[in-house]
């Protein structure tokens, strides 16, 4: 329990750990904000056209206006009062949902695709919203596993496993974008992609037809006319056979393969940076496949893992890096095509199709042949991670001792989850004695969704009426009668020594360390806490010796060694904590940047709407556009905000990255856009379907190392619970 007392110790490690904890909770909170903002932007993106054409029903208009309004109005937020008597029931309900992931897992399989996004938001960002907390992460993964295995049960054809757009695939996307992805993609892929898109003019098209057309275009531009014998439209074979086309393509093929090779090498070299959760999902895919299809070839398993790792995680980021915050703005046309080709090559490599649908892709087969062995090895290595069941059990156990278990949840999340549970109660919990059933009965029907500006977030403390909280882990361990008084004493003594040395590091400079001396120095220190500890530990050392656990003859060798080992571990821990903080700082910055970007998008929508209204006001009142009200009341445009009025031109939109490609003739692009319908055709609000963000990796285990000390104890405890054996624990 050495590290449990970190709060008290004021050394560098403790400070670094505190910084890290703060950072993590900020990232968790911020990534949830982004998720919600992204949904708003997507919603507006899909609604704005209808709104402007005034084809929208009144209540939906209100919804749009509210979305534009953004933040919750704290004055109005009090408007909806929660029934206080229901709070403890909700607290118990969410304790149950969090601790028993199977309920949510079943729910995910039953809700419709239109309901799943909201549910996943609640699950990934609220119920298991502490993205850096191993217990919540592991519970989330457990839920995953049960949805995954259900999918395996249901799927009849091997070929369609994990492929269609199902709740599972939505879940996998949301998960990969939660942030493990964030850090990984940012750290591993961003540089590569950025260096590629710098070369705006680099054309690596290898489709002979396109190359042929581009070539003709070039000739025409240069010479003003087409030479004899080069028809404008030819069949693919003719284009491919053209020597000039071949001469253009040949070096491009080499270049593409070089690029793809280096991307692949980067990915393989950074195996260890792939987030634990993603690797663990790969592992589940492998083991579920092998269990369901015992005769399956290793190749087929690899293609399934690749189908997840490359198709759903890596390739989307390569094809649309702007959606993953890896690059700023949408890449230009040529680099975009290059990125697509690279993704297609990786996809071919991971899936190894027997038939090349596009004939020209066959010229890239050397890439596949060269890397076959490498990729299979990599995909198998991906699966080589440990399970977490033992630590999860410990975490669950520890959770019971926590008094401050709580989630931050919005009213609508609360009511929506409640309502979904009610809808499916008969399947989730048919038996009216079941805890879930009991709670839902007590809650009754779910309240309706509240208006956006009243949708405040509340801190819901979690508790369970069916489980007694553990006051003190030591007593709990003892009461199980598995850990002896001696063991507890030993652990405590060690912990105090570690604490003292962390407070006065010079004490450990001389090796071997002298435990009685250290105790003495603490007992005579200035700091009264240290004095107390010093006196106490002297007594404990004596007691342990009396009990025969340690021996003064060898200068308490066992204890000495363990204290040193612990210190060593803590030393490494500090480096790792600092390292991790640095990496997370950059993640946090990215997330904040993205947040600013999303807000600016919302602002653009607002400004755009105002622009529309102002112009339509000038036109006539008949167009109906001016009816749109923002924030529930008609706003006078003149004094609405400091930002209006707006006039957008095509080039402005292009500069902002709103227009990516347009069919508007050059001569009209300088015109301020006055016809809103036509603007909409060209208006491409950069769609971000980034679902989420945050990061997790191996480090979650580091955090855990603080508990390593008693892990050994508790692990054996659980084994005992499971096997009901009566053997005694023996250090």
């Amino acid at each position: 329990m050495a590290a449990e007392q970190d709060v008290e110790v004021e050394d560098e490690l403790a400070r670094a750990q505190k910084r890290l904890r703060d950072l993590k909770s900020r990232i968790s909170a911020q990534s949830k904000k982004n998720f919600v903002l992204e949904r708003d932007v997507r919603y507006l993106d899909s609604r704005i056209a209808l709104l402007i054409q005034n084809r929208m029903a009144a209540d939906e208009q209100r919804e749009v206006a509210q979305t534009l309004e953004g933040e919750v109005d704290p004055n109005k937020a009090g408007g909806v009062l929660l029934d206080e008597r229901k709070m403890p029931i909700y607290a118990n309900l969410f304790f149950l949902l969090q601790g028993e992931p199977r309920h949510i897992a079943s729910l995910c399989r039953m809700v419709s695709l239109s309901e799943i996004d909201t549910l996943l938001q609640t699950v990934m960002f609220t119920l298991y919203g502490n993205q850096y907390e191993s217990r919540e992460e592991h519970l989330l993964l457990t839920m995953f596993q049960s949805v995954l295995s259900a999918q395996f049960e249901m799927t009849t054809e091997f070929g369609s496993l994990l492929r269609a757009n199902t709740p599972v695939s939505r879940m996998m996307t949301t998960y990969t974008r939660r942030g493990p992805g964030q850090t990984y993609l940012k750290n591993v892929m961003a540089d590569k992609i950025n260096s590629l898109i710098e070369h705006k003019e680099l054309n690596l098209e290898i489709n002979p037809l396109k190359v042929y057309e581009q070539m003709l275009q070039q000739i025409q531009d240069d010479q003003g006319s087409l030479p004899e014998g080069l028809p404008k439209s030819v069949p693919p074979e003719t284009a491919a056979a053209n020597p000039d086309v071949q001469a253009i393509i040949a070096p491009r093929l080499t270049m593409l393969m070089d690029i793809a090779n280096s991307v692949l090498t980067t990915i393989i070299q950074h195996l260890e940076m792939v987030p634990y959760g993603i690797r663990w999902i790969c592992k589940q895919i492998r083991s579920l496949t092998r269990r369901k299809y015992p005769d399956v070839t290793d190749l087929a398993v690899c293609s399934l893992i690749g189908g997840f790792f490359f198709l759903r995680f890596i390739n989307p980021a390569i094809v649309t890096p702007q959606a993953y915050m890896l690059v700023e703005g949408v890449p230009a046309k040529h680099p975009r095509r290059t990125l697509t080709l690279i993704a297609k090559m990786l996809q071919n490599l991971a899936n190894k199709p027997t038939y090349s649908k596009e004939a020209y892709m066959m010229s890239l087969n050397p890439f596949v042949d060269m890397n076959k062995v490498r990729i299979n090895q990599f995909l198998n290595d991906l699966c080589e991670v440990g399970d977490f069941y033992d630590t999860l059990e410990l975490d669950q156990y520890m959770a019971l001792s926590k008094k401050d278990l709580s989630i931050n949840i919005t009213l609508n999340e609360l009511f929506n989850t409640h309502s979904l549970l009610m809808q499916h109660m008969h399947v989730l919990s048919p038996n009216d004695k079941h805890h879930l059933h009991v709670l839902l009965d007590e809650l009754g029907s779910a309240p309706p969704q509240v208006p956006r500006n009243q949708n405040r977030a509340i801190d819901l403390p979690l508790y369970s009426r069916w489980e007694t909280p553990i006051q003190d882990i030591t007593t709990a361990l003892m009461s199980e009668n598995n850990v002896t008084q001696n063991d507890i004493l030993y652990m405590e003594t060690k912990a105090i020594f570690v604490h003292i040395i962390r407070s006065i590091p010079q004490l450990a400079e001389k090796r071997p360390i002298n435990l009685p001396l250290i105790a003495e120095r603490a007992a005579t220190a200035k700091d009264s806490i240290l004095v107390r500890k010093g006196i106490k530990v002297k007594e404990m050392l004596r007691e342990l010796e009396e009990l025969g656990v340690i021996d003064q003859k060898d200068d308490f060798r066992i204890m000495r060694e363990e204290v040193i080992a612990e210190l060593l571990h803590l030393g490494n821990l500090k480096e790792k904590v600092v390292e991790e903080s640095a990496s997370l700082e950059s993640v946090y910055k990215t997330i904040c940047d993205h947040n600013a970007y999303l807000r600016s998008q919302l602002e653009q929508y607002k400004a755009y709407l105002q622009n529309v209204r102002m112009n339509s006001g000038k036109d006539s009142s008949s167009s109906g556009v001016g009816v749109v009200s923002v924030g529930g009341k008609e706003r006078k445009l003149a004094k609405s905000t400091s930002q209006g009025p707006y006039r957008f031109t095509h080039s402005q939109f292009e500069k902002e990255g709103i227009i990516v490609e347009s069919n508007v003739p050059e001569n009209r692009q300088v015109e301020p856009a006055r016809d809103f319908a036509s603007v909409l055709i060209i208006l491409r609000i950069s769609v971000i379907d980034v679902k989420t963000s945050t990061s997790r990796s191996r480090h979650q285990y580091l955090e855990h190392s603080s508990l390593r000390f008693c892990l050994k104890v508790v692990k054996s405890l659980f084994w005992r619970w499971i096997s009901r054996s009566t053997t005694c624990w023996s250090g």
Partner: protein, 229 residues
Amino acid sequence: MRDYKVVVLGAGGVGKSSVTVQFVQGVYVESYDPTIEDSYRKQIEIDGRQCDLEILDTAGVAQFTAMRELYIKSGKGFLLVYSVTDENSLKELLALRDQVLRIKDLDSVPMVLIGNKCDLEEDRVLSIDDGLQVSQEWGMVPFYETSAMYKTNVDEAFVDVVRQIMRKEAELSEEKKQQKLQKQAEAGPDAPAGAAEAEPASQTVAEKRRSRQRLVATEGHKSKCCTIM
């Protein structure tokens, strides 16, 4: 010869690529290889006219949908594909069609609805009526049940969408002529011709265009929609 850009849209694994490859190359691909973005060419003769078809086969996998908007912009006609063995795949099409109409800013766009894998009778969860109903809700968008495996209705669906594009282009060029005449009449002798040109299309013209297109789609349905089991 004219270029016809056709885009194939639909959820993952419904058979967009299989249908496309069957149409273009006459081959059925048994193994599943999720698409990122494939493009094909095919020359066919329709109603005595030589057409150069460019077909864009898109990703159904949700993660790539950020690219959809660009595809839709570039396309003239659309094949919206679902699988009769996957209920959700039809639901997803509802949103997809909205997206197409929104980006095109039109009430009707050359389009066919395709219920694929109709050979898998045992796994079928969507009936012909389910498809027909959606087709009706969409204003009689031509509906085909297809099987990429047995090449059932594959050519028919592609030809249908090309015919719709042809018809629409004829409509549009006719309309342009009318518009020009009308503009000239409205502008009168005093206004410079350039100003009239730059003026955005008025609402009435847009309205007219819309109702006409609806007509075209209905006609297309009457003449061509065939559902073969």
